[in-house]
Amino acid sequence: MSIAKVNLKKKLMPENRRQLPKVLTGIEGVDLITDGGLPKARASLICGGTGTGKTLMAMEFLLRGARQFNEPGVFMAFEESTNDLIANVASIGFDLEGLITSKKVVVDFVYIDRDEIVEAGKYNLDALFIRLGAAIDAIGAKRVVLDTIESLFSNLPNPAVLRAELHRLFRWLKEKGVTAVITGEAGKDTLSRKGIEEFVSDCVINLTISIEGLVASRRLRIVKYRGSSHGTNEYPFVIDEKGISLVPITSSRLEHKVSTTRISSGIQRLDTMLGGAGFFQGSVILISGPSGTGKTTFMSYFADAACRRNERVVYFSFEESPAQIIRNMNSVGLSLDQWVKKGLLVMESKWPNQCGLDMHLFLAQEVIEEHAPKIVIMDPVTSFGNIANPRDVKRMLMKFVDNMKSLGITAMFGSLTPSGLPTDVAAVNISSLIDSWISLRDPESDGERNRGIYILKSRGMNHSNQVREFLISDHGVEICDVYIGAGGVATGGARLNMLAQEKALGLKLQEEIELRQFDLENKRNVLDSRIAAMRAEFAAQEASNLKMIAQEKTRRAQVSADRTAMGKVRNVDEHHTPVKAKRRSK
């Protein structure tokens, strides 16, 4: 993809612009893919089937020339009358009548009634030249449209003469120096029914309209552009009240400025999972999940958080009306209508099949241009899968993403995962465009469905790799851990069950501990009392022993005293007596 983009860029932006002179058409997008408009002073052919917008495109080229570039123009109409043309272009916002009055535009309706005409001899188209010349000179025209000059073939006899005359006409126009646009009805296998492309060799633009699933989409392709580089793709375009717009491809270059600013998802725990700070500003976020997993709730929370930060949000819904979303979000505690009233939140609802993909993209971009939001939410993008093939949806979203990135807008897409598919497969294969992908899932177990959230990827941040369970209640979204234990991962009732079991087990353990503590305490008490008793016994023993010792001492002292007294009585020698006496006392 990026290679293609680079090539396109090179094609659109050649290094040296030595190309033939061009005139801007003023039609959004056309000037870009033609690298500056149509070849100046030459004729370009716009061909296509009925109702593809040939006349309108030619007319817009002329009117924008007169209005924006001060290049008056002549519109030579072979199929529609002046009044019809005035009415037709009024519907796309052009005042053709005013431009005619102010001599910026001349409309010459060439009316040919085939039944009136008889050919009687050789003729040429000098009168047409004179007519055109007079009109060009009258206003100094620089642009000429011939719509559809081919119809001459069905109204005038002798095609050979006509061919020669048309060759002469285009040479003459070139000499006149006017830039011409010719329209041609597409033939079965040819660009135009009468092979008018052979006269106009410089630039051929083909318009087509295709119907896919009841929805029409218009495409434009530059078939050839002699002497100029040009985009070669089929470019989708839309016709609305402002005329033709090529769906902008202005910035199909991978050169977006990136932001390091982080913005909250509106759910604190999710921010934590996203590296602790939420999404990157200007990133592209995908919320995918099966039906009923809460995608809209997540997106509404994101919107709510942005509005709280005083940022503008545009919310495109393709399945629910704004009123319904607001009501539903009230039930989870979000009041979005306050933001709508404040003008911070713009909600747009459309059925996907209301218009073609490109029109959707175009309308979305118009709303975005008008409101200049910081955040754009599309809920869900998978509904485009109903109206177009996945490749086109991806292309459209790619353009959209590209635009959002160039504007620095954070985009959030909802994506419905069809039941039965793995949850990490988005119905629309846009995963490569996504910066942050939140996958919601609803595993079923034990007769209940629970909601799980998982960050499938989030570029540029260290995000959580855990599956979390989340609950949506009237307080909003609550993300909790899943139970991870011996029995594996459990959610919902199973998780609560596990938790209860764990709690019971804990209680039991607690009791046991308490019991042991009590026992220990008891033993300590017993020990203490024993020690006390022993101590008391010892104390009693000690007291009695001490008493006996004291008594003995007293007695011995008494004996000694008695003996001395006796000795005195017997008149024993003073010197020897103590020894003898001592011995005896022992």
């Binding site: 040919i112 008889v118 009687a120 001899g121 040429n124 188209l125 009168a127 004179i130």
Partner: protein, 111 residues
């Protein structure tokens, strides 16, 4: 639509009557004095003299002189001969060298 053939017959009768009695007004548009223009002028003059002796007005308009008339009168081919009167309006393009076709175109065959 259903009574168209009847209508046509009535018209043709009227025209024939007109052709015999009333004046014819013819306009020939040319561009400059090219040989083709010149031969167209002489061709129509000859036919008119033969068929409408004295009962016609032929106006030759050179669009180079009056270019705005080309758009005004819805002319694209040169030369163009227009039968203004009697109605209905007829256009014959070419240098009028094919006399049969001219008479057919002008409804003068019966005369």
């Amino acid at each position: 639509m259903t009574d168209k053939p009847i209508d046509l017959r009535v018209h043709q009768k009227k025209e024939t009557a007109n052709a015999q009695s009333k004046k014819w007004i013819l306009r020939l548009y040319v561009a400059g004095t090219t040989t083709r223009s010149m031969s167209a002028i002489s061709n129509i003059k000859k036919i008119c003299e033969e068929k409408l002796n004295g009962r016609y007005v032929l106006e030759v308009i050179d669009l180079y002189q009056q270019p705005l008339l080309a758009a005004g009168h819805q002319i694209i081919a040169i030369p163009t001969l227009i039968r203004e009167l009697p109605p209905p309006l007829r256009r014959i393009i070419g240098d009028l060298s094919d006399t049969e076709k001219v008479l057919e175109g002008l409804d003068l065959k019966s005369l």
